[in-house]
């Protein structure tokens, strides 16, 4: 399968601080990718590198087999909605569409008009007087009407109320269903993205902590609980991501491709939420070697 975004040892440095480091990724096409991580983890930096708004300090990034921002043909292929879904406050909705038509060779005015109609927006209304949800929808309309192959959305839900979030995601999923477009959207909350994403990239403290197909991630992680055991007693095929112990009981979150055979364990599947939290915890308690030695003893 071809990759929509491929990075190799990608890094971006601001002054002495690395905003993104050791980033090697290959995101297959046709996915809805959740780019998740706490604020300041490097999500915006990674998206900006993919659009071509930033250039790498080291390593390389390829987007749809081209170099980000490299000429009009490359720009045509990528739709981008920046953080806070900006629009030109003084321009009307109609003028936004007109601008889109002038600036984009593949602009689909029919599609844009149709979406604006569906949303119940008035073409004469100034973007500055739209609600947050309406502005987000306008930004999404602009990004999709240029008919990109890849749609990048930076925290599109952050400033929306729950109803507007839902409407935005409904609109986005309709677009995915109708057009062959790959999507990467970032959020610091996994709960926002759980329903819509089928691929996860977890960024913590400038590093990729976890990346992969969500169904595969959920299938290879398990929560084990049973009598107190040392993590070293687990088979080598089980990588410990998180552990906690009480006087008598141990709980592990392990990653393994093998079935768990030891009858001493009660095995439970993990939720995406638990998985993300465990890997975030692991990033904050780094330890050398394959086995992480973090854990809360209570």
């Amino acid at each position: 399968m071809t990759a929509v975004i491929e990075t190799n040892d990608l890094g971006k440095q601001y002054g002495r601080k690395w905003a993104l480091r050791d980033c090697t990724l290959s995101i297959p096409e046709g996915k809805v990718v959740g780019l998740v991580g706490p604020n300041g983890a490097g999500k915006t930096t990674l998206l900006s590198l993919a659009v071509g708004l930033l250039t790498p300090t080291r390593g390389s990034i390829t987007v749809l087999a081209g170099r980000p921002g490299d000429g009009p043909a490359q720009l045509e292929k990528v739709g981008f909605v920046a953080q806070d879904t900006p629009a030109y406050a003084g321009l009307s909705v109609g003028k936004h569409l007109l601008m889109g038509a002038y600036l984009n060779a593949n602009w689909d005015q029919e599609l844009a008009k149709c979406r604006i109609d569906q949303l119940g927006l008035d073409l004469r209304q100034k973007a500055g007087s739209l609600s947050g949800g309406q502005r987000a929808q306008l930004a999404l309309t602009m990004a999709i009407a240029k008919q990109p192959e890849l749609l990048l959305l930076d925290e599109p839900l952050a400033s929306l109320d729950p109803l507007a979030r839902r409407e935005f995601l409904q609109g986005l999923m309709e677009i995915v269903a109708e057009h062959e477009v790959s999507v990467v959207l970032s959020s610091h909350l996994i709960a926002d993205l759980e329903r819509v994403c089928d691929y996860l990239v977890l960024l913590v403290a400038s590093h990729i902590q976890l990346a992969g197909e969500i169904s595969a991630l959920l299938a290879t992680h398990h929560r084990l609980s049973g009598p107190r055991r040392d993590s070293r007693s687990l088979p080598s095929s089980q990588e410990v991501i998180e552990q906690s112990h009480t006087g008598k009981q141990s709980t592990f979150l392990v990653r393994t491709d093998q079935p768990i055979l030891d009858p001493v364990w009660t095995v439970r599947p993990v939720t995406l939420d638990e998985l993300v939290l465990a890997y975030m915890g692991q990033a904050h308690n780094p330890s050398p070697g394959r086995r992480s030695a973090l854990g809360v003893v209570s």
């Binding site: 046709g30 409904q170 999923m173 995915v176 109708e178 994403c197 169904s215 599947p269």
Partner: protein, 130 residues
């Protein structure tokens, strides 16, 4: 046409919830051969889920021989599921209720009973699968 609902707190994968709802509708006679399922677009427009999830559910149903896609038209019900006999359901509900009363009288609480039920289901269905 069937309208899908999602229970996000259930912990059951979204595509499986869709599959189960079609199967249930077939068992209850709400869906019959010839009926059309909503298109992926219609489902995602309502539930805000990934269209691939809907397609995965429909592929599963197709593999079971319950639905078939007609190019350009949509996905249609082609199979049936045996409806469970209401009289049989009634009989087992009665014996289960009697069993629960006995368990309660013997001093078992809801948690104990739930644990026993889960263990029994796991044991008997694991045997059946093996």
């Amino acid at each position: 046409m069937i309208e899908f609902q999602l229970d996000t707190a259930s912990g059951i994968a979204t595509y499986l919830q869709l599959v189960q709802q079609v199967r249930q509708a077939l068992q209850l006679g709400i869906l019959e051969p010839g009926d059309q399922l909503p298109t992926a677009q219609q489902v995602v427009a309502k539930l805000a889920i990934n269209p691939n999830t809907v397609l995965k559910a429909y592929r599963d149903l197709e593999r079971e021989g319950l639905v078939r896609p007609r190019p350009g038209q949509g996905t249609f019900i082609v199979g049936t599921l045996p409806r469970s006999d209401p009289a049989v359901q009634e009989r087992f509900l009665a014996s289960m209720t009697a069993w629960l009363r006995k368990a309660h009288a013997a001093g078992l609480g809801p948690d104990d009973i739930e644990a026993i039920y889960r263990t029994a289901v796991r044991n008997s269905f694991a045997e059946g699968a093996a």
